[in-house]
Symmetry: C2
Subunit: 333 residues, 2 copies
């Protein structure tokens, strides 16, 4: 493996293209990269992303938005033809189906939105001479390992959702592209991320249900599912630490997560109820899983990330508390 | 994980459907399963497979051939509608692009022939109630680990060819399908397999070149690439041992290979020259890799397979010697 300095001092690398940039994590990344002086182009199909989430950026001369479904070859190529008007740049690929249960019942959803987006982006990157990619993968690639800590060196990977499968397929295709034309790839295996502007996720779901029915909260599953959560501010700082690395393999694969064992769904439900509708009763289902493809409990190893000197500012408990406040205050999307 | 008895004593499981059954390994599998009393349906698009390789089976009342490109949704579904006339059965999925360098220069080749075949087969298996799959994966999923023995527990996987990437994507999709509807899946990570009827591969290539130009043999790469090779007879016996297992996880992933460190390309070239055209001179290239995506050397761990009590009858050296003889004698395809 070659070592790699991804922080090339070339002007062209200061153009950052964010696929899926109109969503929850994407808009936070746009803000951060604009703040750091990058020119930022967002490409999004607006299936989950929202144009109004980008409204704070549209006055910036360094910002551009392109609406396109990049899982479609023609639309992806048309988007790249516009992107290169602002120069070759560094790709951040966050576009994916974010509704995991929807992808479980219909595999074509994740094929198109989670995998074919990656495939078509890579085809265009090769054609137009883009050499660097940062990819939002997921802890879902591991599958269900019960109490075994999920370390990047673990195998074999047996994802249990089509979302996880198509994230792993994307990792594989990026890895292969790195052998033929990419100069550097960072693959981030995201944890559960919380914060605003929330568009989906457990807190958003609970807040929405309580707003509709303030007297009760029905929880999928028995509430015992335990996971760690990371606040989006910590996620971004971790991604940038890896992105700015000047060593390691050409394709770096890193778990990003909190360094704790996480919190249960029932504890989250209690926090949301306390904040939004304190008199509500909470009702639980019988299953240990919320839905097919849900991993009821996992222990996420972040040893490799810590090797980069990075530690989260907020624990899972703190991240949830902050996010419950933020999402409760969030203007309806 | 649930334990699994794949050797269900149901008549329906004795119908074996072999996708990619008109190729090198497929035709050997057809012969073996017919011998064991199965009804066998072969589905092949005849891109690499050949109808005449199936001619020895066409007299059998237990054999049926369907020509279809199963990467196409309509053709795959039409094939399944014919397959179920003979009853639900067990799937053997060997269909893939077998020309790895072709897939390196054009990623859409492996997307279609190596991954979409898997995706569409799984969609139809779900629709038509097929619960068991045996899948031909590949050592190419690992990527280049230099001297680290390739064990199934190794991670992260960083394939360096689109072929390896799309085999890993297929593994991932099968794993996910096992969470929703499959009852059992065996994923075989194939090594380099030799024998007849050869349709591609290093020996076939060398024999063909020497027949065309008997005085010289030009070898891609410097000839130092060292790999282990398994004879197709050993491959089949290993697959059936795993297929007949009555324990282990729902999705079992096993390396199949010889238990030795293999032989070099230059040694193979010498064997072919000695057998086919003893006076020929051998010329080597300068690269340590034969082509982009080639893994120059790897050590394949077969410890897990040996845990099933299986050992190869032929070493890499013996397998190559036998296969050189067989392929030199093979009637032109």
């Amino acid at each position: 493996m070659q070592s790699l300095d991804i922080q090339v001092e070339s002007k062209s690398l200061q153009h950052s293209i964010i696929f899926g940039g109109a969503g929850f994590i994407g808009t936070n990344l746009v803000r951060k990269l604009l703040f750091h002086g990058h020119r930022v182009t967002v490409v999004d199909n607006l299936s989950k992303g929202r144009v109004k989430l980008l409204s704070e950026f549209t006055d910036s001369i360094n910002f551009c938005f392109i609406e396109a479904d990049i899982s479609d070859r023609n639309q992806c190529r048309a988007a790249f033809l516009r992107i290169i008007e602002f120069g070759v740049g560094e790709v951040w690929h966050l576009a994916a189906n974010s509704d995991i249960p929807a992808g479980v019942s219909d595999p074509t959803v994740d094929l198109k939105d989670t995998f074919m987006t990656t495939f078509e982006i890579l085809l265009c990157m090769k054609e137009f001479g883009f050499k660097h990619i940062n990819f939002a993968s997921s802890s879902a690639v591991y599958g269900d390992w019960l109490d075994v800590p999920l370390h990047e060196s673990l195998g074999p990977l047996r994802p249990i959702s089509n979302y996880g499968a198509m994230k792993l397929a994307s990792e594989a295709q990026i890895s292969s592209a790195s052998e033929s034309f990419l100069e550097g790839a960072n693959i981030f295996r995201f944890p559960n991320v919380v914060g605003t502007p929330a568009t989906h996720g457990v807190i958003y779901d609970f807040v929405g249900r309580l707003r509709a029915q303030p007297e009760k909260l029905e929880v999928l599953g028995n509430g015992a599912q335990q996971k760690s959560y990371l606040h989006v501010s910590d996620l971004l700082s971790a991604m940038l630490v890896i992105r700015n690395r000047n060593n390691g393999p050409k394709v770096e694969i890193v778990n990003i997560g909190a360094a704790d064992s996480g919190v249960t769904v029932s504890w989250i439900a209690e926090q949301v109820v306390a904040r939004v509708s304190p008199s509500a009763n909470i009702f639980y289902g019988a299953d240990s899983k919320g839905w097919v493809g849900d991993v009821p409990k996992f222990s996420y190893s972040t040893e490799k990330l810590q090797g980069y000197g990075w530690f989260p500012k907020l624990s899972s408990t703190q991240a949830i508390r902050v996010a419950v406040d933020e999402i409760a205050d969030q203007v309806e999307l």
